[in-house]
Amino acid sequence: MPAPLLEVKNLRVEFPTRHGTLVALDDISFDIAPGEILGVVGESGAGKSLTGSAIIGLLDPPGRVASGEIRFDGRRIDNLPYEEMRKVRGRQIGAIFQDPLTSLNPLYTIGRQLVETIQTHLPVNAAEARQRAIRLLQETGIPAAEARIDQYPHQFSGGMRQRVVIALALAAEPKLIVADEPTTALDVSIQAQIISLLKRLCKEHGAAVMLVTHDMGVIAETCDRVAVMYAGRIAEIGPVHDVIHSPAHPYTVGLMGSIPAMDDERERLLQIDGAMPRLTAIPKGCAFNPRCPRVFERCRSERPDLIDAGNTRAACWLHAADTKAAA
C-alpha cells in the first residue's frame, strides 16, 4: 500500500462572523493515493469547494483553518507561510476552476501564461518552455497548437479555453490536481470531451485528481473513489461503484434516488424532504437526522464518525457494530 499523496486529518475550517463562528468544514478526514481520482460530491453549502480551497491554500479571509492538518507527500502544508505555499501551488498541486473565462488573464496570450507557469516552477529556458507549452496544447487536443499558442483567450471558445486551463494546470507537472466544477459551465457535448480528456491526461502524467462537483454523472464517469459531503462533513466515502449502487448512508441513498436516470421508469423521483441546514443551524448529533427516514435516538445526540459499512465507510449509526448487534 503506497503512502498516500494527500492526507487530510480532522480538518476544521471556520468563518468568524458577527453572528458567531460558523463552522464550514467540521472535522473531515480523507486520503488521496498517488494517481488516484477522488470525487468530492455534495450539494450547495456542503463544503466541497471549501475543501478544495483549503487544500490549495486559497481560503477567502476571514475563513481560516482552525484545527487539523493537511499533509502533502508527508509534509504539512496547511501552516506554511505564503511564499512556501506559493511554491507548492503550481509545482506540486495544480488547480482548475469552474469558469474558464476568469481563469485566464484576458490581457496575455495563452502562450505567455503557459510559459510563465512553466518557467516559474521548472528550471528550463524560454525556448524549451515554449516547446513544452506547444506539446501540452497538442495533448489537450487544441488544433494547430503552434499557431494558436500566440492567441488571446477571447479567441477561443468555452470548451477550448477549458482545455487551455487544463494545460496550464498540468504545465508544471504537479502530482495533484484540484478541479472545482471543471465542466459545469460547459455544454453537455463538450462536457463529455473535457471529462475524458482530464481522465486520460492525468493517467498519462501520473497526477492524482481531486474532482469537486455536484454532478454525480461526471463522478461516475471519471472517479475511482468518491466522498459524499453534507453540511461540512463527509457522509460517506468509498469506491465509486459501491457508493452509487449500494450506498450505505441514508443521505446517499436519497441523493441517488433523486437523480433521474436514463433508464428510469419511475413516476415520482425519490425526494428528501426539507433542505440542507444552514451553517448557523446545524443540528446536534448527526447533521442529517431531521431529514433521515431511518433516524433513531442515538442519531440526535451523538455525531457519528466514518464507520465501515460493507465496501464503503459511512458516518451513520445504522452501521455501528452495537446497532447491528442489537437489531
Binding site: 450539494e43 450547495s44 471558445s157 468555452g158 470548451g159 477550448m160 455544454d187 453537455v188 457535448s189 463538450i190 462536457q191 463529455a192 470531451q193 471529462i195 475524458s196 455536484h214 454532478d215 454525480m216 454523472g217 461526471v218 461516475a220 464517469e221 461503484h241 452509487i244 449502487h245 436519497g254 441523493l255 434516488g257 433523486s258 437523480i259 433521474p260 436516470a261 436514463m262 433508464d263 428510469d264 419511475r266 413516476e267 415520482r268 423521483l269 425519490l270 425526494q271 428528501i272 424532504d273 433542505a275 440542507m276
Partner: protein
C-alpha cells in the same frame, strides 16, 4: 379548476414556421466608419410544433440553440419576425400587439431559470405572488370594500397558493433572501399559478437547483399538472430530467428543430445524428459500459452558421447535399425530423 378531462381535438398551442432574428450589428457610426456589414443572428429559424392539452413538450439543446428564445416568443416577451403562434386557435402575436392581451396573459405564464433573479429582492412574497392577482383583478374587493379588507383577502389567497406548492402560509410576510433556491423556485411557481393559467412555459426551472431540491420541484410540477390539467412547455439541457417529465421531446440545434418525437421513441431510437450525439454524451451514472461514439467539435458561432444543414461539420454521415441544402422538417416514420440522411434512408 380547469377540467383536465376535456379531450379537445385541437392542440392548445400550435407553432408554425416560427422565426426570430436579432439585429446585432455594430452601431451606425461604427458601421459607416469601419465599413462593417450588418449582422443578424437567426436565433429561431423556422420552428414548428404542437402541444396538446394536459401534455408536456420538452425542448432540449445546447447553448445557442434558441430554446429559450422560443419560450419567450410563446409568452409574448419577443415578437416573432416570421411565422405564427396560436393559442387555442387565436394568433398570439396579433393579440399581444393589440394591447388587449390581458385575457390571453392570464391563460399562460412562465417560470424562469434563476431562482435568485426571478423574485424582486425588495418585495415581500405577498406582493410578489399577489402582483398577478392585483393586475388581473382576481381578488374580491372592488367597489365599497376597504383596501384593508382587500389586502387581507389577497394575503389569504397568496397563502393558499403557497400551500399548494408545499410551502407555509406564514411565508407571505418574508423576503426572498430568507429562502433557499428550491423554495424561491416554488414561490415562482406559486406566482405563475396565481391566475390559474392553462399553459406554463418553464425555462430550465431546475437547472440551477441541487439534485435533491430538483427532485422536489419536479415532483410538485408533475402533481400540479395532474391536479389542474396544466400544459407545459419544458425547456432544458438535461436529457435525464427531460425524460422524466415530458411526453414529447423536441431537439434544437442553432435555432432549428432537428427532431421531434414521442419520448419513448426518441430515447430508444434516436434518429437524427445530433440527437444520437447528445444521448451519447450524457455521463452514464449507472456505468452500464455501453459503447459510445466520441463527440466531435463544438457548437459553431451563431453569427456565422454553416451552410446547408448547420450540423454538417460535426456529423459523421454528412455528404455533399448536406453542405448545400438545408433539410426541411418532415414527418417520417411517425416523427418529425430534419435530416437528409434519414430521408434518404442512409442512416
Amino acid at each position: 379548476m380547469s377540467a383536465a378531462s376535456i379531450m379537445a381535438a385541437q392542440p392548445l398551442v400550435e407553432v408554425h414556421d416560427l422565426s426570430k432574428t436579432f439585429d446585432v450589428s455594430a452601431p451606425w457610426l461604427n458601421r459607416v466608419v469601419e465599413r462593417k456589414p450588418r449582422q443578424f443572428v437567426h436565433a429561431v429559424d423556422g420552428v414548428s410544433f404542437a402541444i396538446e392539452r394536459g401534455k408536456t413538450l420538452a425542448l432540449v439543446g445546447e447553448s445557442g440553440c434558441g430554446k429559450s428564445t422560443v419560450a419567450r416568443l410563446l409568452v409574448g416577451l419577443y415578437a416573432p419576425t416570421h411565422g405564427r403562434v396560436s393559442f387555442d386557435g387565436v394568433d398570439t402575436a396579433a393579440t399581444f400587439k393589440s394591447g388587449n392581451a390581458q385575457s390571453l396573459r392570464r391563460r399562460m405564464q412562465m417560470i424562469f431559470q434563476d431562482p435568485y433573479a426571478s423574485l424582486n429582492p425588495r418585495w415581500k412574497v405577498a406582493d410578489i405572488v399577489g402582483e398577478p392577482l392585483r393586475e388581473h383583478g382576481l381578488v374580491a374587493g372592488t367597489g365599497g370594500v376597504s383596501s384593508r379588507v382587500r389586502e387581507d383577502a389577497l394575503k389569504v389567497r397568496v397563502a393558499e397558493l403557497l400551500l399548494s406548492v408545499g410551502m407555509a402560509g406564514a411565508d407571505v410576510e418574508k423576503f426572498p433572501h430568507q429562502f433557499s433556491g428550491g423554495q424561491r423556485q416554488r414561490i415562482s411557481i406559486a406566482r405563475a399559478l396565481a391566475t390559474q393559467p392553462e399553459f406554463l412555459v418553464c425555462d430550465e426551472p431546475t437547472s440551477a437547483l441541487d439534485v435533491s431540491v430538483q427532485a422536489q420541484v419536479l415532483n410538485i410540477m408533475k402533481d400540479l399538472q395532474r391536479e389542474q390539467g396544466l400544459t407545459y412547455l419544458f425547456i432544458s439541457h438535461n436529457l435525464a430530467v427531460v425524460r422524466h417529465v415530458s411526453d414529447q421531446v423536441g431537439v434544437m440545434y442553432l435555432g432549428r428543430l432537428v427532431e421531434l418525437a414521442d419520448k419513448a421513441a426518441l430515447f430508444s431510437q434516436p434518429r437524427h445524428p445530433y440527437t444520437r450525439m447528445l444521448l451519447d454524451a450524457i455521463p452514464d451514472i449507472h456505468m452500464s459500459g455501453r459503447s459510445r461514439t466520441p463527440v466531435q467539435g463544438e457548437v459553431p458561432n451563431p453569427l456565422n452558421p454553416p451552410t446547408g444543414c448547420s450540423f454538417h461539420p460535426r456529423c459523421p454521415h454528412a455528404n455533399e447535399r448536406c453542405k448545400q441544402e438545408r433539410p426541411a422538417l418532415q414527418r417520417l416514420k411517425g416523427i418529425l425530423i430534419a435530416c437528409h440522411g434519414v430521408e434518404e434512408g442512409r442512416i
